[in-house]
């Protein structure tokens, strides 16, 4: 969907299906990956993302479909004949070999000369900032260092596609952020095509060129991090990539040229801009409102545009933001208030005005009810 017209895809995954017994794990997955692109498969556990990665790497046989790397079908090849390198979640470093021996394992198989191997190993160590650690045994390394070795080992023979299976999940929170940026930096620098798998949507947003959201064995949405976050195609994705308020509404009027429309909710009328073409007056819709896009002020009982009135039921200060809950009668909405120190001091029980932004994302009701069971 975001394909450059002049660039042919490097890796084409075409209608991959896989079932383990009666359990259909992948129900027809297709995606093209450009050269140098980092594409992330993200989804809840059991959505089939690791299976898909193992199929691309050749460890699991798919039932049907095609994998094409630089125009050549590789789906039938065993892993040792594919130009893909996987980096497992648990790193799978050879514990009986040193760091350098781990890094040179693949080079020796390709029958590199001794001097060249040494040169390449040093280069790799430098790349991942582990100079001088070649002689260490694996169990003498910290988790982060093991992660680096695993990454370097996957890069050792310059594969065409790098497959990363939740590479950061064994690291603690701080290190995870650091390594995430490190991997992204190296990946961009080396311009290496990468398929990344994670269950962590924030990690996916931070690291990816494109995100593929998988659930129940099918692709729910493909898009840039911004696209996925701002324009989720269904309630599942809206929920999956961050907290969200859903508000049901009916379209009163819509200007098909500009998208300017008025909608009625249970709590009042709103003016919003709708980008989709297929929504007409009378349609039932769901407004997808991110907590940080809503603004809030103490109510002065005057009528304002796009304001819903409610009662503050919770105000939780967490430093960078304050989490507010506002009750609009029978339901509540969540608001993230950034930079809360500069604002009014709200107190639980305050009457407040909640301003809904005009450019709120809208889901057509029919689609939503089908997906959001």
């Amino acid at each position: 969907m975001m394909m450059d017209a002049n660039q042919k895809p490097m890796l084409i995954i075409k209608d991959i299906r896989k079932a383990f017994g009666a359990n259909e794990v992948l129900k027809g997955i297709s995606i093209d990956v450009k050269k140098g692109e980092l594409v992330t498969f993200v989804g809840p556990s059991g959505c089939g993302k690791t299976t898909l990665l193992r199929i691309i790497g050749g460890f699991t046989e798919h039932d049907s479909g095609e994998i094409i790397l630089e125009g050549q079908s590789i789906g039938h090849l065993p892993p040792n004949l594919r130009d893909t390198r996987i980096c497992f979640q648990n790193y799978a470093l050879f514990p009986h070999l040193t760091v350098a021996e781990n890094l040179s394992y693949g080079l020796k198989i390709q029958k590199w000369e001794k001097a060249k191997i040494k040169e390449r190993v040093d280069e790799l160590l430098k790349l991942v900032q582990l100079e001088g650690m070649g002689g260490r045994m694996i169990d003498k390394l910290s988790g982060g260092q093991q992660q680096r070795v695993a990454f370097a080992r996957a890069l050792s023979v310059s594969p065409k596609v790098l497959l990363l299976d939740e590479p950061l999940s064994n690291l603690d929170a701080n290190l995870r952020l650091l390594m995430r940026d490190e991997i992204r930096r190296l990946q961009t620098e080396l311009h290496i095509t990468t398929v990344f798998v994670t269950h962590d949507q924030f990690e996916a947003m931070a690291i990816s060129d494109r995100i593929v959201v998988l659930s129940d064995g099918i692709i729910q949405q493909v898009g840039s991090p911004v696209g996925i976050y701002d324009h989720p195609v269904n309630e599942f994705i809206a929920n999956f990539v961050g907290y969200v308020n859903f508000l049901e509404a009916t379209i009163d009027t819509i200007d098909t040229e500009t998208g300017c429309s008025t909608v009625s909710t249970e709590y009042g009328k709103l003016k919003i801009t709708i980008e989709q073409d297929d929504i007409k007056a009378g349609d039932g819709v769901v407004l997808v409102i991110r907590p940080e896009t809503i603004s809030i002020s103490l109510s002065n009982e005057t009528t304002k545009q796009n304001v819903l009135r409610g009662t503050l039921t919770r105000y939780m200060y967490t430093g960078s933001l304050a989490k507010c809950s506002v009750s609009l009668g029978d339901r509540g909405i969540i608001i993230d208030l950034y930079n809360p120190r500069d604002r009014v001091n709200f107190i639980k029980g305050d009457r407040v005005d909640v301003t809904i932004p005009r450019n709120v994302h809208v889901l057509k009701k029919k689609v939503a009810s089908k997906q959001g069971e």
């Binding site: 050749g58 460890f59 996987i86 799978a92 514990p95 080992r153």
Partner: protein, 562 residues
């Protein structure tokens, strides 16, 4: 747990005693258990040691001199060690092939192959001696059918029988180590372009080395100690275990019998220490992610063929051995007079022996399960000096050849003040202490699962130590007791090497009856009794697996009895 007890001055008499017991309960228990171990495990061995040095005029080395100057004895030692070596290599190769196929091979083959590799577990090891005689003996089915001149009696026969008998032991240990090997390691190598042969050579085998070594040591100890196969099939080839038996029961030479026992026990003790050292040694640690069931590899034919050949051929042989024994049980003289008869199965003396065996096994199991549970508790929760020593002694039983224990008990308990021979108790007791390891290990495993805070909570609520022990600890450890019970029952049932010294006329045990029948060529009778034993063992195993299913207790099989 060890709560400070304040001695109130108003407490006298029974109150004081009770309090003392509560405060020192675990130490009193430990002392008592240690005395039992010392008396029934260490003392008999020492009795053998003393006997081997005890001449008419006190200390002498003449019996050892005798051993080393007679070519026959030296040959016996050499044969025993060589047998151990060859057996170990064969068992490891076959066991590895089975284990690799059941963990990495095609899905469809995994379960059946595993089943076949475990089949010998349900039979006494000497079943294979019987079936080899039926097939290759002087009137053997294959001997007659193809007129082969090959003599099964001798070194080759013993090697084959022993290898078949100890495949499950090697398989179980190797399967365990391969299972603990993260399949991602091999997959990474595969990913980097390694062929399957190269993966096995550079990744699988090196990472399995500690496990392979441990399995090798255990198989070695078990095979050199095994008595039945060597005694039945050895023919004129000397081996230490049966030679000890002949020396004691045939020539009534307790001194030379003791020397032979010592020669048998030395390698076992060395190996036991090496083994304990290896277990305590460091393992390769790697970051563990989610456990991934290993998917079948696309094995190339060149790799697949040898694995398939080894597993299929040995599996086939195992099944044939079982089949011929089953047939022989219902045939007059198999191969000679092939008529269906039930007289082997109905033989009164042998059925009495089975009954006796069940009785002895039951007593042994009851005592063994109890002592094992208590020992585990003392080892895990105790805080006294010598705790690890007690553990070591308790676990050493499996490394001690039954023959040596048999001789030891004969020497230690045949005269007052400790006269036990001739009774039923001595038959049970030697098995209790030899097969203690499994009960103790199951108990230790169970105790590690439960948090000490449960016990602390109990005493915090005011329960005395004894109350905590009987109301909290014992119920929790009950599954471990049952595991120890059933295992001791099973192994005592088939155990031959020690009791063969200790049975008294008129009180036959099934294992000894099979042995005698086999030696005298009554193959049908021996087969029938073996078959009954198999049925009993299968019933035990079913109970064991049901138990481990319901209690989630990992019950480890230690392999057949020596």
């Amino acid at each position: 747990m060890a709560r400070a007890i304040t001695y109130d001055s108003h407490l006298y008499g029974w109150g004081r005693v009770k309090e003392f017991i509560n405060a020192r309960f675990i130490n009193i228990l430990a002392a008592f258990l240690f005395l039992l171990l010392a008396f029934f495990l260490i003392y008999p061995i020492i009795a053998v040691l003393i006997k081997s040095f005890q001449g008419p005029e006190g200390f002498t080395l003449s019996y050892y001199k005798n051993f080393f100057t007679h070519a026959y004895f030296f040959q016996s030692l050499y044969n025993t060690l060589l047998l151990g070596l060859i057996n170990t290599v064969l068992c490891l190769i076959i066991g590895f092939c089975f284990a690799y196929m059941t963990t990495r091979g095609p899905m469809a083959l995994r379960k059946p192959l595993k089943l076949i590799a475990m089949v010998p577990l349900i039979a006494p090891p000497y079943l294979f001696a019987l079936s080899l005689i039926i097939l290759f003996g002087r009137r053997g089915l294959i001997t007659n059918a193809f007129n082969v001149g090959w003599e099964i009696y001798g070194f080759d026969g013993v090697v084959i029988a022993q290898t078949l008998a100890f495949i499950p032991l090697a398989f179980l240990m190797l399967e365990n180590t391969i299972k603990s090997l993260n399949p991602n390691l091999e997959e990474s190598a595969y990913d980097m372009g390694a062929t399957e042969g190269r993966i096995i050579r550079t990744i699988t085998i090196p990472l399995l080395t500690p496990g392979l070594l441990k399995a090798a040591l255990l198989v070695f100890v078990m095979t050199i100690a095994e008595f039945g196969n060597a005694a039945v099939l050895g023919g004129r080839t000397p081996f230490l275990a049966p030679d000890t038996y002949t020396m004691i029961t045939g020539e009534a030479d307790f001194h030379m019998g003791s020397v032979l026992s010592i020669m048998l026990i030395i390698p076992c003790i060395i190996i036991f220490f090496v083994h304990s050292y290896l277990i305590s040694g460091k393992k390769f640690t790697t970051i563990e992610g989610k456990p991934i069931a290993s998917e079948p590899r696309k094995m190339s034919l060149l790799i697949k063929l040898p694995f398939i050949a080894v597993t299929f051929i040995s599996g086939f042989v195992i099944l044939v051995c079982f089949a011929v024994v089953m047939v022989a049980a219902f045939v007059n003289i198999i191969g000679v007079r092939n008529e269906f008869i039930l007289s082997h199965m109905l033989d009164f003396r042998h059925n009495m022996a089975i009954y006796n065996s069940i009785k002895v096994s039951f007593i042994a199991a009851l005592i063994g399960g109890g002592i094992g549970t208590l020992l585990a508790y003392v080892i895990v929760r105790g805080k006294f000096f010598g705790r690890t020593f007690i553990e070591m002694v308790a676990l050493s039983g499996f490394a001690l050849p039954g023959t040596v224990i048999g001789v030891g008990y004969l020497l230690a308990f045949s005269a007052p003040p400790f006269k036990l021979t001739g009774g039923i108790l001595i038959l049970a007791l030697n098995c209790v202490f030899r097969f203690l390891a499994v009960g103790v290990e199951a108990g230790i495993a169970k105790l590690h699962q439960i948090n000490i805070e449960i016990e602390e909570a109990s005493s915090d609520m005011g329960a005395s130590f004894i109350a905590t022990f009987s109301r909290i600890v014992l119920p929790i450890m009950f599954p471990a007791f049952v595991a120890g019970f059933i295992y001791t029952f099973m192994t005592t049932m088939v155990s031959l090497s020690a009791v063969v010294f200790l049975v008294s006329p008129g009180y036959e045990l099934a294992a000894v009856s099979i042995f005698n029948a086999a030696v005298y060529g009554k193959i049908g009778l021996a087969s029938a009794t073996t078959l009954k034993m198999i049925v009993i063992v299968i019933l035990c195993m079913i109970t064991l697996s049901l138990l481990s299913k319901f209690t989630k207790l990992d019950i480890e099989h230690k392999g057949g009895a020596a």
